[in-house]
């Protein structure tokens, strides 16, 4: 199942496609005389939505690549040290403490 960043990037990709669809609608109706929208306003909105679509599309792509690299990093991560090594490490720490105490007592 996809991770959350991937689904988020998919959603933003769909919304970017919807903005492109709005641009297409504005462009398709550019010769429509039965409208109060002036050509300047039409092209301005078209440009704005095109920019929004590109920005959102690039953001979605970045999110997708980020989630891909995170999932690869998880796969390549080193295995956890075996329990024995962990116990040995904790055992070494316990052993040093009593040695330190008499030295400190001597110093004081």
């Amino acid at each position: 199942m996809l991770n959350n960043d991937k689904t988020r990037s998919t959603l933003f990709g769909v919304i970017a496609a919807y903005f492109l669809y709005l641009c297409y609608g504005l462009f398709r109706d550019r010769h429509d005389t039965d409208t109060s929208m002036t050509p300047v306003m039409r092209w301005l909105f078209l440009a704005l939505f095109a920019l929004a679509a590109v920005w959102l599309g690039l953001y979605a792509l970045r999110l997708w690549k980020q989630s891909e690299s995170e999932s690869f990093a998880e796969e390549d991560a080193p295995e956890d040290p075996p329990e024995e090594e962990a116990e040995r490490e904790s055992g070494e720490e316990v052993e040093t403490e009593p040695e330190d105490e008499p030295e400190q007592a001597g110093r004081s």
Partner: protein
């Protein structure tokens, strides 16, 4: 502390405040036109499909930002099949409704299985439906009609999904409608105070008595206003009963049931949910099965309102549902969002649509405004996510 709590309250209810401000804006712009009784009825009837599909989309998005791109095209297909059953073949309304729901269940089972168990990404699985169903629906309509649409649907079907409960003539005050409003207001007040009492009893953070009273007064005033307006416009539309019923049921499911919480948990962290014993595949399966069934119900309201099945029905419905969820604060990553938030988002978009129609704003401007509202919601979502990190 008082200032902080006021600021926190404002932030918590920001969408509601924006909704009220937008309504007031259109109230001025339409010179009170949006406050007419008929506008309230139109708002509910016109946007019923957004509320119903929005609930389904919410459940999908809660599981991790997943969406359904096929719901609009599926509305077209179901409308065509329903027209074929009821108009061409003359089948009974009840039988046809049952069969259409079964078709919805069948599609939901297939879709849910493909997404949850075969691991096909939801956007790909539903994109197939988006591309195929409209063509299929159009083909059914062309084969069964010379005009490319099927009409009229039986009166019994229209009464169930586009009728009125205890109808009266417009301009005559509908007492059952207002009585229902008073009862609903009383229930809301009871629920608010009972919830507060339960939270205090369990030691959770609860609203102050003053805050609870204020919440109750505002909610009751809103409900009574709507029901008062509807009472002058012929009574309660049956669409409102469908919408209110679905919204209340899913509000209960998402906040008070275990399976509802599982949707949030799966969306919050799927791996943790799976390790905690939540059957994540089943939740994904149920999300899409649920969406398909709700799409069937939404089809009934749309087709009953337009009184015909035609090829363009359902266009952009999926985007309307997604917009309602995103504007209503449903997280694009999943795990956060509420039915109430989605309702507020859908109502906001509905008010904007209705307001623009009332001032006879050009259809191109209407598309642009809808696009800007969605863009603002997406930007807000991205910025709030960045702040969290």
């Amino acid at each position: 502390m008082k200032n902080e709590s006021f600021a926190a309250t404002l932030k918590k209810n920001s969408m509601l405040i924006i909704l009220v401000l937008v309504y007031l804006f259109f109230l001025v712009l339409t010179k009170g036109g949006i406050f007419q009784s008929s506008s309230f009825t139109e708002l509910i009837n016109q946007n019923a499909y957004v509320y119903i599909l929005g609930v389904g989309m919410l459940m999908c998005m809660l599981t991790g930002g997943n969406i359904d791109l096929s719901c609009g095209a599926f509305v077209c297909l179901l409308g065509a099949i329903g027209g074929m059953f009821m108009i061409v073949k003359g089948m009974g309304t009840g039988v046809s409704i049952l069969l259409l729901i079964l078709i919805g269940v069948l599609y939901g089972v297939i879709l849910g299985f493909l997404i949850a168990y075969v691991n096909i990404p939801p956007w790909i699985a539903t994109l197939a439906g988006f591309l195929a169903f409209r063509g299929l629906g159009t083909s059914i309509l062309s084969n069964n009609s010379t005009t490319g649409s099927l009409a009229p649907f039986p009166v019994s079907f229209q009464n169930v999904f586009y009728g009125r409960v205890f109808p009266t003539n417009k301009g005559v005050f509908n007492i059952p409608c207002f009585t229902a409003g008073v009862l609903a207001a009383a229930v809301i007040t009871l629920v608010i105070f009972l919830n507060r009492k339960n939270r205090i009893k369990k030691g959770y953070e609860a609203d102050t008595f003053r805050a609870a009273c204020l919440k109750s007064v505002i909610s009751d005033a809103a409900v009574l206003l709507v029901m008062y307006k509807l009472a002058w416009d012929g009574g309660i539309p049956t669409t409102l009963l469908w919408v209110a019923g679905i919204v209340l049921i899913y509000s209960f499911i998402t906040s008070k049931t275990t399976i509802g919480r599982h949707f949030y948990v799966v969306g919050g962290n799927m791996e943790a949910a799976r390790l905690s014993g939540v059957n994540t595949r089943r939740i994904m399966f149920l999300a899409y099965l649920n969406m398909a069934v709700l799409t069937a119900i939404a089809t009934f309201t749309v087709v009953a309102r337009s009184q015909s099945a035609y090829a363009d029905v359902g266009k952009n419905f999926e985007m309307d549902a997604i917009s309602a969820c995103v504007v209503g604060g449903v997280s694009a990553t999943g795990g956060a969002g509420s039915v109430l938030g989605m309702v507020i988002g859908a109502t906001l978009i509905g008010i904007i649509n209705l307001g623009m129609s009332l001032i006879s704003l050009d259809a191109n401007y209407q598309r642009v405004v809808k696009g800007f509202v969605l863009l603002a919601a997406v930007v807000f979502d991205i910025l709030s996510k960045k702040k969290e990190r």
